[in-house]
């Protein structure tokens, strides 16, 4: 028990300075014109996580997702051949939302208004009294959206012909996501929150550990220690536009007795399921623009921050499980793991909103990121590059 423990060595200030050192303008964290530009430059051009493939395992399964950032409602189906398809959830007659249930299983989708009927490939199959129209049926398929999955995570791209495939977009992350527990998940626990805060301000909270000891004095105890009082990560990785961190954990964590019972069960099932010992188990992936995935075998979660307006967002957190609950101990271990993760996540919301209230007045022209907030800085860099390129593109376009 007295064997030497490795001493924590943080990422140095010099290393982190590679991503930049200048103060970051505050406007992009509350101004609506910047938000509007982000919607176009980032959210209409990037692959966006909208769910997990285990939500639609069988041919005929479908889900509906509201994507406020694009004012869009999306219908995602698995067609008769088992392939994923995605469409705007809008009837091509006069636009009526086709499906109102959040999920289900169906071969055809009939519009409630005049009963136009589409199949799971989005093709218009039937339209009453169609002879009265002045258009070809073949032109009236549902408007497609690009869809693909990687490591179980389901992504859409609002550009029906994306500049990059999902795998190219994810780059070196793609292979790693395939190895995570979330790639094998068949079900999940989920908790959600609405927040009066910009999506970047919200997301940033979950990619810096500087706040842990102040905001998570109790739940954060396991992730800090004498030689790493702030619980900073071991490493940061940059794979533009994505980023990663390798989480440090206290080699001698203080685990409470009842917690030990729950963790013991959780570990037993994680081992039984072959989830333990992966190289990615300490990796925390920040997939551009708004998705996190944690590779941990016992609490493998995803956290997506959906923008709603410049100062409003919604978070969706899911903890992934392999197989249904098959015995009492497994059910108990999952309930505990979800409860603990949620306790930690819930502690952040109020202080993020307080940050937004402080920024909204414009009193601060800039904000400052320290070396250990380098992932926040990197997100801003990635977003701002795209926003500036989009604005330049608009200006040249407008001058013609």
């Amino acid at each position: 028990m007295t064997a030497e423990l490795p001493v924590f060595e943080p990422v140095t200030k010099e290393e982190a300075s590679r991503i930049g050192t200048a103060p970051v303008p505050a406007g992009p964290y509350y101004q609506s014109d910047y938000f509007d530009a982000e919607c176009e430059a980032v959210f209409r051009r990037s692959w966006l996580n909208v769910g997990h493939t285990c939500e639609l395992p069988e041919p005929g399964d479908y889900i509906v997702r509201e994507l406020e950032v694009a004012n869009a409602s999306l219908l995602i189906t698995r067609n008769r051949d088992g392939l994923l398809k995605a469409f705007h959830n809008a009837c091509t007659h006069r636009g009526t939302q086709l499906v109102s249930e959040p999920c289900g299983r169906r071969q055809v989708f009939s519009c409630p208004y005049h009963m136009w009927t589409f199949n799971s490939d989005g093709e218009l199959r039937n339209a009453p009294d169609f002879d009265q129209f002045y258009v070809d049926k073949a032109e009236l398929n549902l408007k497609p959206v690009a869809v693909d999955s990687c490591g179980g995570m389901l992504f859409i791209n609002l550009n029906p012909n994306p500049a990059q495939s999902l795998r190219d977009y994810l780059g070196p992350l793609a292979d790693q996501l395939e190895t995570l527990p979330s790639a094998r998940a068949t079900t999940f626990s989920e908790y959600v929150y609405e927040i009066d805060a910009n999506w970047k301000l919200t997301y940033d909270n979950f990619q810096e550990n500087y706040h842990l000891r102040f905001i998570h004095p109790k739940t954060g105890a396991a992730t800090s220690g004498k030689d790493n009082p702030f619980g900073y990560p071991l490493r940061y990785g940059f794979h533009d536009p994505h980023r990663t961190q390798t989480i440090w954990s206290n080699p001698q964590p203080q685990i409470q007795p009842f917690q030990m019972l729950a963790f013991g069960k959780g570990m037993q099932f994680a081992m039984q399921d072959g989830l333990v010992g992966s190289e990615q188990s300490k990796e925390y992936y920040a997939v551009f623009p708004n998705l996190f995935i944690l590779g941990s075998p016992m609490q493998p979660f995803s956290h997506t921050v959906y923008p709603i307006s410049a100062t409003k967002s919604r978070g969706v957190i899911r903890i992934y499980w392999v197989g249904e609950d098959d015995c009492a101990s497994r059910r108990f271990a999952r309930e505990y793991a979800m409860g603990l993760a949620r306790d930690i996540h819930s502690e952040d919301r109020a202080v993020i909103e307080a940050g937004q209230r402080g920024l909204n007045s414009g009193a601060l022209t800039h904000i400052h990121f320290q070396a250990q907030e380098v992932l926040c800085r990197h997100l801003f860099n990635m977003v701002d590059e795209r926003v500036q390129a989009y604005r330049a593109e608009r200006q040249t376009g407008g001058a013609q």
Binding site: Y191, D326, G339
Partner: protein, 115 residues
């Protein structure tokens, strides 16, 4: 106290906690945690923590879908105990402050919820 035997005989000492803590969904359990008093949480946690391992061992002998009503009630108590333990064992004196945050994060899906 309620005289009904709603739990397997070996766990009868938990009968007084059934009304408050035998709940159907994860969100109901965390809501009950939030709406309870520190005394209620401590009494339940102290009674539950000593039998939890034995109770799980008993329940593990059957597939979950074959548990009878009493066993299901015991299962549900153990799941509530997981939530309550977070309040008593982890948050301690911070639970009142923590509860303010927790109400904004409803649990919308859980494998332990009824289908």
């Amino acid at each position: 106290m309620n005289a009904a035997n709603r739990l397997p005989a070996a766990f009868a000492e938990l009968e007084p906690f059934v009304d408050q803590w035998c709940l159907a969904t994860s969100n109901e359990r965390t809501t009950a945690r939030r709406n309870s008093t520190p005394e209620e949480r401590e009494a339940f946690f102290n009674a539950g923590k000593v039998i939890a391992a034995d109770a799980l061992q008993l329940l593990d002998q059957k597939p979950l879908d074959q548990l009878d009503d009493k066993e299901q009630c015991l299962m549900s108590l153990l799941l509530s105990l997981a939530h309550v333990s977070l309040a008593v064992e982890i948050q301690g004196g911070d639970e009142a402050r923590h509860a303010l945050a927790s109400q904004h994060m409803p649990i919308t899906r859980s494998p332990s919820n009824p289908r």
